[in-house]
């Protein structure tokens, strides 16, 4: 799980072009949206594409997004549970 979290942090930094953010700056349990990393709705779309492209996971129900993208840890957990 820790390895996946670390990998995911790197992918998010690259995909969202978080120039001044390092992996160690991202708290595993901090909110991704609003506070924490301060991501917004466009970033949410980028993260959905990231899940599908890098892990083959489609977020079928948009309502699940809020739970999946709560934090890095919830995202990693979702990947672990659904990776094909």
């Amino acid at each position: 799980m820790n390895e996946l979290i670390d990998k995911l942090k790197g992918e998010i930094i690259e995909q969202l072009n978080l120039e001044d953010v390092k992996k160690e700056d991202i708290d595993n349990d901090a909110p991704l949206f609003g506070e924490g990393l301060g991501l917004d709705s466009i970033d949410a779309l980028e993260l959905i594409v990231l899940l599908e492209k890098n892990y083959g996971i489609k977020v079928a129900n948009p309502a699940d997004g809020k739970k999946i993208f709560q934090s890095i840890r919830t995202m990693a957990q979702y990947i672990q549970d659904n990776k094909k």
Partner: protein, 354 residues
């Protein structure tokens, strides 16, 4: 149609951004591709927004911010920009992603930022400016079209302070594409040698320059922009000279009244003859200057020339690095810019001292 240039802001391959100094030194390039000297954008942009922006968007916002600061005008009545290539870096990202991912997994950011009007839109968003906002995409007439719209808007009384500007960025891919159609020199040509070159092609450039055009004069003005003419695909030198003559006559001037002519000489043997003929005959009594060894060739390079003319008129000094031959006039009252892109899109600007 006339307007006063109240403020300027420019990012170019020279040290031109946010400085009182006027080309104190020349940055020379030897790789046939000039790239802008960019400032730290943290002073102009929220990092959350900046991370999604390509280079030309950041350059446009920073250059326009400098123009607002310089002019003392915080909210323009209209924003008009010109760009031939738009946000090329983001366009390339988006198109490449389509190809690489077989039209799957397309992300929104580079698409959203790839449209040509992103820069003028982002300037408006930063200002919360809901006024007229337009982007002209007309190859070598992109910047000139924005200026023309600015002049017309002022002439028609639809605005008093108009932001106009030109911006284009060079990328490695675009450089290679243009190289295949012989835009650039095949041999590496140091920019300070450009004027002596006798081969085809020029060196690639880029830049972002903005101007606050005002209907009313003030003690801050750089110059008065008095006329702008488009001379599309002129068939002969006589046609060029005739059109310039008409332009000057409309303002009660002749060629002898022009103290300085700024030419778009770019080292391309196919087109430099046009400028040299003007320099050696029609404007033989005027001081001559050029600018593309400082900014390179790009579709909106006229904006660099307008900045140069405005600074010369305000400071009453011609940087030695742009002079061709000697300065023939103690004071500079009237400046004409003659520029063309790839021999087709010719334009002449007339500026006068305030």
């Amino acid at each position: 149609m006339e307007a006063y240039i109240r403020g300027v802001g420019i990012i170019s391959p020279q040290k031109t951004f946010d400085t009182e100094e006027f080309l104190p030194e020349v940055v020379e390039y030897s790789n046939n591709s000039l790239r802008c000297i960019e400032p730290s954008y943290k002073d102009f942009l929220n990092p959350t927004l900046a991370r999604r922006m390509g280079r030309v968007i950041k350059m446009g916002i920073a250059a326009s911010s400098a123009c607002f600061k310089d002019s003392g005008i915080a909210m323009p009545d209209a924003i008009m920009t010109g760009t031939a290539l738009g946000c090329l870096e983001d366009t390339e990202k988006f198109l490449l992603a389509i190809i690489e991912n077989d039209e799957q997994f397309l992300t929104p950011t580079s698409f959203v930022q790839s449209t040509h009007n992103t820069v003028s839109a982002q300037i408006a968003l930063q200002l919360k400016c809901m006024n007229y906002n337009f982007t002209y995409v007309h190859k070598g007439y992109s910047f000139e079209s924005s200026v023309l719209d600015g002049l017309m808007t002022i002439a028609e009384g639809n605005g008093k302070n108009i932001l106009v500007g030109g911006h284009d960025e060079m990328t490695d891919k675009y450089y290679r594409v243009c190289d295949r159609v012989n835009y650039w020199k095949k041999e590496m040509t140091p920019t300070l040698q450009l004027i002596n070159s006798k081969t085809d092609g020029s060196v690639a450039g880029e830049g972002a320059a903005f101007f606050m055009l005002s209907a009313e004069a003030s003690d801050k003005d750089y110059a008065k922009l008095r006329s702008l003419k488009f001379i599309y695909k002129p068939e002969s030198q006589q046609e060029i000279e005739g059109r310039i003559g008409e332009m000057l006559a409309e303002k009660g001037l002749t060629a002898n009244d022009i103290d300085l002519v700024i030419y778009g000489i770019n080292g391309d043997a196919r087109y430099d003859g046009i400028y040299n003929q003007l320099k050696d005959s029609y404007f033989k009594n005027s001081t001559a200057a050029y600018f593309k060894h400082l900014c390179g060739e790009y579709q909106t390079s006229g904006s660099f020339a307008m900045w140069l003319a405005a600074r010369i008129l305000k400071s009453q000094s011609i940087p030695p690095s742009v002079l061709i031959g000697e300065n023939k006039h103690a004071s500079i009252k009237n400046v004409l810019i003659y520029n063309c892109f790839m021999g087709t899109d010719h334009a002449a600007f007339l500026l006068s001292q305030c």
